[in-house]
């Protein structure tokens, strides 16, 4: 999954004089207010932080309320999804028109049917909707599964992501990890046999020719279907 970065930040937290009794608490409260909100300064959402006060002295900000600025160094974990990044999310709802998932437990994402590649087909099984690949029968996307998708756009206010399942390297993470190997990374490995390489290319290019691994199983299922039809 992409979109997660760690960053060191030099921050100055301005503490209200009424909080001067317990500055540590005030700093933590201030930093906690950053959590789960999009911040332009960090160009993303702060998910976690750890702080390290730099100085025992604070700078007094003159004014009606003499706020004092505490300088500190913070380690932040930032989530900043950008278009074309690959994210992973847990599916919470599937309808004919869309797949809804939750990324990192707080950010919602939707993949509408025009952003789902034709290979994936909607089916209603036992009253529940699933998306099944037309070519790889084991590639099933259902509620509760984790999918990998590409970011199309992001609503920063409520961190709502619009995603896409068009690229071939997207879909159910379970299936992708098991059967899908990215050609770009693997082609560098010299130890690969020609046979394996061919198989992967088939999967990636993907659609018309069936991969050799699943070949006979798919055929079998076709036979079965024909038998049922008759």
């Amino acid at each position: 999954m992409e979109g997660l970065t760690k960053s060191d930040a030099n921050l100055t937290v301005y503490v209200h004089p009424s909080q001067s009794k317990n500055v540590d608490k005030a700093i933590l409260r201030e930093l906690s207010s950053l959590l789960f909100k999009y911040s332009q300064a960090f160009d993303g959402v702060v998910l976690a932080y750890s702080v390290d006060p730099q100085d025992n002295c604070a700078k007094i900000l003159s004014g009606v309320h003499p706020y004092f600025g505490v300088r500190l160094r913070a380690n932040l974990l930032i989530f900043s999804p950008k278009p074309n990044m690959l994210l992973e999310g847990k599916i919470v709802k599937i309808t004919r028109g869309s797949i809804h998932c939750i990324v990192l437990g707080f950010s919602s994402a939707i993949i509408t049917d025009e952003n789902i590649r034709n290979e994936l087909k909607y089916k209603a099984k036992h009253g529940e909707g699933v998306y099944v690949s037309r070519y790889h029968k084991r590639h099933v996307i259902k509620v509760g599964a984790v999918i990998r998708f590409v970011v199309k756009s992001l609503d920063e206010e409520i961190l709502h992501i619009s995603g896409s399942l068009i690229p071939a390297n997207t879909g159910s993470v379970h299936w992708l990890d098991k059967y899908f190997v990215d050609a770009a990374t693997e082609s560098n490995k010299e130890a690969k046999t020609e046979e394996e390489m061919e198989m992967q290319e088939q999967i990636i290019v993907g659609t018309e020719t069936l991969p050799s691994v699943n070949d006979h199983k798919v055929k079998k299922s076709k036979k079965r279907r024909r038998a049922e039809d008759q």
Partner: protein, 651 residues
């Protein structure tokens, strides 16, 4: 009506299906979705006719025609499948129509379809989340102009709408987790505000009641983890606002030259009482209560408090009271603890001195439901607040006043626990005395005097019961109360004379210590010194858990858990028992007041006890001094029920 409609509509649908079959036209749901998608897409190309048709369908007000209902239902379902084609630039009127619909005007099938559409919209685009939440929260109440809740049909409708609305909110939070944050804000913002001069008070009352019901449903529902805290805090704020808004000033300010009793007698003669019976000539303090009962604000607060109490009971049944209590407690500390100011800082401060709030009884009742955990925690938190030097003196005094009043009045608290808490206060006072080597100064040592007064107040209520248990008696005797009271700071002279008198009387009878100094303020309720230490807020006379003024709350929930002064056995009772009881009986016409206690007073409504009479006795027997006729504040004599008990009665 709704049932009939549904029935008609089902028939209509069956007929329609049949016609289609006959004509050979079969449209699947998905076909209609495509049709709607085309209509939505065609707006961009300039062809708006299909789109306008669609919007018009949503605007049909005639919900009785089955064909219109069927069309509406189909359109809503189709829109759910086409939400990703809706955008907030081209389809403003469509969005306005959807969000302007009220479930209260729909049949259940349409409600379901509308709910599904709203859920789909919220999940489809971040921009719509706020609007969807607003729409659902608006559906907490029937439309503004509607009076349907007064009819049985409205109640049925309520049972149809509310579960759907809450399910909708839960699903949206499941799909868009951060919507929970927005929901809390929306619920707070949409809360109906109370205006005393509202032209339609009945409708406002109904709306506030149903809104509170919804808030409590959220608090007890599946998403309470995310919104429960903020919603409960808002419930307390809402009640506090009402409490502060109770029109006491109207009661008291009507005619400054007319005695309050005269005024109330006249009012009572004009109107029938709660039971619809004409009033006999009543005694003043009962009348005061009745008058308050007719106060619309107080009545509303009463019914809201009852809802909250019932919710607390439900929480206790589900074993989640401690979770709710945490929130109540923090809300209490944040707001209620310091809210007396809003009443006391009025212009005619004297007239308002004696008015306590009622909201604190919510926490009192939560403590009564779970004395071992909540009850103990409440007292300890107040103790901590008082002892902590970091808090401002006013907060500390308020905390100790709450603590003393709570320990004195909570019937559910064990005497051993009361003694423990007393010991904590006494230890603090002793340390304070050791550190201070100065003379009496009411303003400089406010916290100390409040603590001393608190200790004496609690002992007025509990000395006898403590003395009855040998271990506790020895603990009490070992407490260094005497050196504290005899310290140069002179707490006996500064604290309220009425409390000091009663305390000394009981201490003398119990042989707690010897009193050598004579006090000359026998008939005084307060002295200048006590006024000084109480400050502008008059915290010297602040006893928050004096009998609850809200009638139904008091009878149904508080009374069984509450210690009334007339049930307190004092240490000198043994000597004067016969004469004093006879006096009471003679004075107030009560045959045997002890029976009330034995029979379980408050919940036994079926018994033939005149509760108003009982109220009167309770009130009269509270620790207000007998000599009330000579006691004036702000030029007005206060009705004893509004006046909190300020000092133990000299029996």
């Amino acid at each position: 009506m709704g049932v009939e409609l549904t029935h008609q509509y089902t028939e209509y649908r069956a007929m329609e299906d049949q016609e289609e079959m006959e004509e050979g036209v079969i449209l699947t749901d998905w076909d209609i979705v495509y049709h709607v998608r085309d209509a939505l897409l065609s707006v961009k190309t300039g062809d708006r006719s299909s789109y306008h048709q669609l919007v018009a369908v949503l605007h049909h007000r005639d919900r009785s025609a089955p064909d219109k209902v069927a069309l509406l239902l189909t359109s809503l379902k189709a829109l759910s499948g086409a939400v990703s084609y809706i955008n907030d630039i081209d389809h403003v009127s469509l969005l306005q129509s959807i969000f302007g619909m009220s479930m209260w005007n729909c049949v259940p099938d349409v409600m379901d379809a509308l709910l599904e559409l709203v859920i789909c919209l919220a999940a489809s685009n971040g921009k719509y989340v706020d609007l969807c939440l607003d729409m659902l929260v608006n559906n907490f109440m029937p439309p503004m102009e509607s009076d349907m809740l007064r009819h049985p049909r409205g109640q049925t409708k309520k049972d149809q709408v509310l579960p759907r609305v809450h399910t909708g909110l839960e699903v949206i939070v499941d799909l868009v987790p951060l919507a929970a944050l927005k929901l809390s804000t929306t619920v707070v913002q949409k809360r109906p505000m109370f205006f005393r001069k509202d032209f339609n008070m009945d409708r406002l009352k109904v709306r506030m009641e149903i809104y509170l019901k919804n808030m409590l449903m959220l608090e007890g529902g599946a998403i309470r983890e995310f919104v429960g805290n903020s919603v409960l805090m808002e419930v307390v704020n809402m009640m506090l606002e009402l409490d502060v808004a109770i029109g006491w000033d109207e009661l008291l300010r009507d005619d400054p030259n007319k005695g309050i009793f005269t005024m109330e007698l006249e009012d009572e003669e004009e109107e029938a009482d709660d039971d619809g019976q004409a009033n006999d000539v009543e005694l003043p303090s009962t009348l005061t209560l009745r008058n308050l009962g007719k106060n619309v604000t107080a009545d509303l607060l009463d019914s809201l408090m009852i809802q909250l109490f019932e919710h607390l009971e439900a929480c206790a049944d589900k074993k989640r009271l401690s979770e709710v209590f945490e929130t109540l407690l923090s809300s209490f500390l944040a707001t209620i603890l310091n809210t007396y100011k809003s009443k006391f800082s009025q212009e005619e401060c004297c007239s308002y001195l004696f008015i306590c709030l009622c909201v604190q009884f919510a926490i009192f009742y939560a403590c009564a439901l779970d004395p071992e955990n909540c009850g103990v925690k409440f007292a300890q938190t107040l103790g901590d607040m008082f002892i902590s030097n970091g808090n401002p003196p006013v907060t500390r005094m308020s905390a100790v006043a709450y603590l003393a009043s709570y320990l004195a009045r909570g019937k559910f608290l064990s005497t051993a626990f009361v003694v423990n808490m007393l010991k904590r206060l006494v230890d603090w006072c002793l340390r304070y005395c050791e550190e201070q080597d100065r003379d009496m100064n009411p303003k400089a040592h406010q916290a100390f005097y409040s603590a001393c007064q608190g200790i004496m107040y609690v002992l007025c209520f509990h000395m006898k019961s403590i003395m009855n248990v040998p271990t506790l008696k020895s603990q009490l005797l070992l407490m260094p109360i005497e050196p504290i009271l005899r310290h140069k700071l002179g707490p006996l002279e500064v604290c309220l004379p009425s409390i000091v008198n009663e305390f000394l009387k009981q201490a003398k009878a119990a042989h707690l210590f010897t009193i050598s100094k004579a006090f000359i303020f026998e008939d005084l309720l307060e002295s200048d010194l006590s006024r000084d230490f109480g400050g502008l807020e008059r915290l010297d006379m602040f006893f928050p858990f004096d009998p609850c003024l809200l009638k139904r709350c008091d009878r149904g929930f508080i009374r069984p858990n509450f210690i009334y002064w007339n049930h307190v056995k004092t240490t000198y009772d043994d000597d004067e028992e016969d004469s004093s009881e006879e006096d009471i009986a003679d004075d107030f016409g009560v045959v045997n007041e002890e029976n009330f206690m034995e029979e379980g007073i408050a919940r036994s409504f079926d018994r033939d006890i005149d509760l108003d009479e009982f109220d009167f006795v309770m009130n009269k027997m509270s620790i207000t001094p007998k000599n009330t006729s000579g006691f004036h504040f702000g030029g007005e004599r206060m009705p004893s029920k509004i006046r909190p008990s300020t000092s133990p009665e000299s029996m």
